[in-house]
Structures are given as C-alpha cells and as structure tokens.
C-alpha cells in the first residue's frame, strides 16, 4: 500500500491550515474557506459549495465526469479559447475533436491523471479566484477499499486542502432528510431507520441507516448499475440489429428514456438514426431484459440487509426503503422491488423513490456533512 496521503490533525486550529507539508499549490494564508459537497459519480458528478460559516450556496452544478483532451492538429478557433482540456458537457459536445477519458470506473478512480484534471476543474468551479482554502466531503461507494480511498486522496493532493470521504448511500440519507420537518408528527426521519438503494452508473450501493454511522455490515456495494445495463442493451441491439452503429452515448439515452423493470412491455418503438436514415426499432424485450438484470443483482443484497436488521427495527425499516440515484428513474423499479418483497413474505414493505432531485441528494448530504464537521474531523492531505 502506498504512503497514505492523509493525516488527522486533532489539534488543528480554527483558522486556515498552516501545515507546511501541504503540497501542489504554494502554502499561503487562505483568504477564505469554501466548503463543498462533492458527489464523485462514475458518469455524473454533482458539486454544491458555499463559504464556510454561512448558509449561502455559490455553486450548484451537475457535471458529466469526463475529461476531453483536445486532439493534436485541431485548427485554432474550433475549440473555444483554444483550450487543450475540456470537461463535462464541453468535452461531450466536442467529442469529435477530443480524446474522451472517464476518470472513474465502477465508482473508483480508473485514470488518475484525468481524475486530477477533473478535480482541478471542480476546484476552479468552487473557487474561481484560486485563493480559498477548499474543504470537501466526497461521496464514495459503500465499502470502498483502502486502496481506492487512497487513490482519491492522492488525486486530491494539492488541489483540495482538507477532505472527508463518506459513503454515498449514507450521504443520500442525509441529503434526503428534510431537516425542517424532523420532529414533526408524521415525518419519518430517514436517518433514524431506513434502507437506501443508490443506483449509480458504476455501482449500486445499499445501506441501512439506523441512527448511527453504518458499519460495513450495514452496507453492500454491487459493481452492477447503469453502465452494466447499457452494456447488456448494447449487446442486445447488436444482436437484433447488426451494424447499427449506435454509440454507447446513444444507447444510454435510449435506456434513460425507456428502461423499465417487471413484465415485458411491448411495443416500445424507438426512433434512431442508422447510416443516416431514420429507423423505428422495437426494443420492448431488450430494454426489459437489460433492466431486469439489475433487479436480479440488487434483490439478494436487499434481503440480506433486511435479514441483518434486529427484530425491533425491521418492521419500521421495511416501511422506509428508498431508491435513489439514476437507477431510480427506471420505470417500475419501486413497484417491482416492493412486490418481490411482499411475495417473499416480508411484512408490509414500502419502497419509495427519492424523487426528481435524485442527482443532488448525495451532494446535499455531503455539503450538510461539510457544514457540520468539527475542526478535528477534517483530514489534511499530505505527501
């Protein structure tokens, strides 16, 4: 294992850090501190940020987690500002002219150099002046390995000043929690007793949240999520319509618009352009087969976590199963999971969807955590 890039500093002062070993940028007295909640997703990241000590939010952005390195030989003026690196939508919009690199795969860093460039971009969004101290809570998949955690810290070294890595499903629970309603009659605090299913691009994370920080036993991470569904759907398309020429990006679009789980829905006619001509493809079975695979993967993990709950808590837990992340947009996912639980004899289960703001719950939770973290809980990034 490499040298850890982090150290806890229990007696850290409340002012800007003076640690001489912080590297990357010159060590200087920061003029202000910015707190950020950073949902580092495989396909999309969400960043919320604001100055420390306030409830102001100066940044709220969803950014595709992709870096585009401009190809050599592109003539001046094609890329705005003749930039050499593009990020997010800019990179995707110029995919003809860039080499696209996805820094994250299955929830962990796959391309460290691209990840550092992406982090640098995130930093510049949080603090365009480049002068502030940046403290960020980063969402990571449940049960992320030590090595994967260390990879994130190494990539953040010299870009962010202090960091906290917190499992995404727990941050989802914090983000989903309506603080203003906590304590009101009829409001069930999701942090008290709930089970979150966070289906992202690279991983599906399941987590029981029962009033204390989830242990490893409370969390299960499955390396099967949106991207895996895309792959299955792409294979089906290739089988049904050889030489279709559809890009992975297009396949993802089709999935996001039409994916469903449960019994086969037919017909689902999808208009696509192949070889310059419009075609109408019937994809009912293909979409169902691809998305139902997700249910087969996450259901055993769901029942495992339910079985691990104490008899005192399990009935309430079953009433608070919440699906979030991009996978929550798959049509019927709540109903299908609830029906399977009911059919298997679980006591009055209720599976709910987190809602349209699913992209931001992890980042909201992360920013809440950043604002609540005590001084001694932040970790310095060191060489």
């Amino acid at each position: 294992m490499s040298t850890p890039a982090v150290v806890e500093k229990n007696t850290a002062p409340a002012t800007a850090p003076q640690a001489p070993t912080v590297t990357g940028r010159p060590v200087k007295a920061a003029t202000k501190t910015m707190l950020a909640g950073f949902d580092l997703g495989t396909n999309k990241s969400c960043i919320l940020a604001g100055p420390a000590g306030t409830s102001d939010m100066t940044l709220s952005k969803v950014l595709p987690t992709v870096v585009g390195y401009v190809k050599e030989g592109i003539v001046d003026g094609i890329i705005a500002g003749n930039a050499t690196i593009l990020f997010g939508e800019d990179a995707l919009n110029n995919m003809l002219h860039v080499d696209l690199v996805a820094p994250i795969a299955e929830g962990v860093i796959a391309h460290p150099a691209a990840a550092r460039d992406f982090f640098q971009r995130v930093r510049s969004l949080i603090d365009p002046s480049g002068q502030a101290e940046i403290r960020t809570v980063v969402g990571i998949p449940a049960n992320t390995s030590d090595k994967a955690r260390e990879d994130i810290r190494q990539c953040a070294l010299g870009i962010f000043d202090r960091i906290l890595l917190v499992p995404e499903p727990f941050l989802s629970a914090l983000g989903f929690r309506d603080d203003a309603r906590v304590g009101q009659t009829g409001y069930v605090d999701p942090v008290t007793n709930s089970l979150f299913i966070d289906i992202g691009g690279g991983t599906s994370d399941l987590c029981r949240v029962q009033g204390c920080f989830p242990t490893r036993e409370d969390q299960i991470c499955i390396p099967f999520a949106g991207d895996a569904i895309d792959e299955i759907l792409h294979s089906e398309l290739d089988r049904l319509y050889p030489n279709n020429g559809l890009s992975r990006h297009k396949v993802r679009e089709i999935k996001e618009a039409h994916a469903y789980v449960g019994p086969v829905r037919k017909p689902i006619d999808v208009r696509v352009i192949m070889g310059g001509k419009a075609h109408m493809l019937e994809l009912g079975e293909a979409l169902g087969r691809a998305a139902n695979t997700l249910i087969d993967k996450i259901y055993p993990a769901l029942t495992t976590l339910i079985a691990r709950a104490s008899s005192d808590s399990v009935v309430t837990l079953l009433q608070n199963i919440i699906v979030t992340g991009g996978g929550s947009q798959i049509k019927g996912i709540d109903a299908v999971l609830q029906k399977r639980l009911t059919d298997d004899g679980f006591e009055s289960p209720k599976v709910k969807l987190a809602g349209q703001d699913y992209k931001r719950y992890v980042a909201i939770g992360a920013l809440k955590a950043a604002r609540a973290a005590r001084e001694n809980q932040w970790q310095f990034l060191l060489t």
């Binding site: 806890e8 007696t11 850290a12 409340a14 501190t33 707190l35 919320l48 604001g50 420390a52 000590g53 306030t54 409830s55 939010m57 709220s60 403290r135 030590d146 906290l164 917190v166 727990f170 914090l174 983000g175 309506d178 603080d179 203003a180 906590v182 304590g183 605090d189 942090v191 008290t192 009033g211 204390c212 920080f213 242990t215 490893r216 349209q356 703001d357 992209k359 931001r360 909201i364 920013l367 809440k368 955590a369 950043a370 604002r371 609540a372 973290a373 005590r374 001084e375 001694n376 809980q377």
Partner: protein
Amino acid sequence: MSPITAEDEFLVVLSTVRATYGPASINETDLKEIVATEESRVADAAVIAELIASRMTALQTSTTASTPSAPSSAQAETNRPASTPAPFASSVSTSPFSIADLIDGMLAQEKRDVRQPAQR
C-alpha cells in the same frame, strides 16, 4: 378531477402558440434548452431551500429557547468537551442526531479497520 398544474398550463399555451403561428413557430431545440434551464433553476431553488431550512429551524428554536436549566441541543453541542468547536458549522441540527457525531462514528470505524486489516 385533478388540479391544473403549471406543466398543463404550459402545454396549453404551447399548443395555442403553435396553432396560431404554425408548428415551426417554436424551435424544438430552443424549447428543450428553456425547459432544461428552468428545471435547473427549480432544482437549485429546491437545494437552497433544503440547505437553509435547517438554519431557519435553528433560528426559530433559539428565539423560543427554553430555560437555562434545559439547554438546547445547540448549547449541548457547543459544550461538547472532547473536541474543538466546529467553527464552520452553519447551524446545529435540532434533530436527535448530530451529523458530527455520525462522522465521529465513521472515523472511529475507519481506525478500527486500519488496526484490524486482516478481518476485512
């Protein structure tokens, strides 16, 4: 009968404009961009509301504070003996669970995991 939503109203207006000025009067790409922009604004507003809600609740609680013999959760948090006060916390949750305590639990768990790597 379900109430008319803003989306319903928008669709009615859109249909009227298209019926009056022709189907090409509103560019589909422009329309998508406008809808995306507005969706983003609504999402931002929701996030801001979410984040300031706890602060407003805390302010409300402090104005209706109980007697000194029954300190609020905010005071209890401030009096926490084991650690430095959180200078950057924008507010202290009035809920039974302190996020900082939950983070303590996470960090303690990480330390245990470091000490017992063989069990993982």
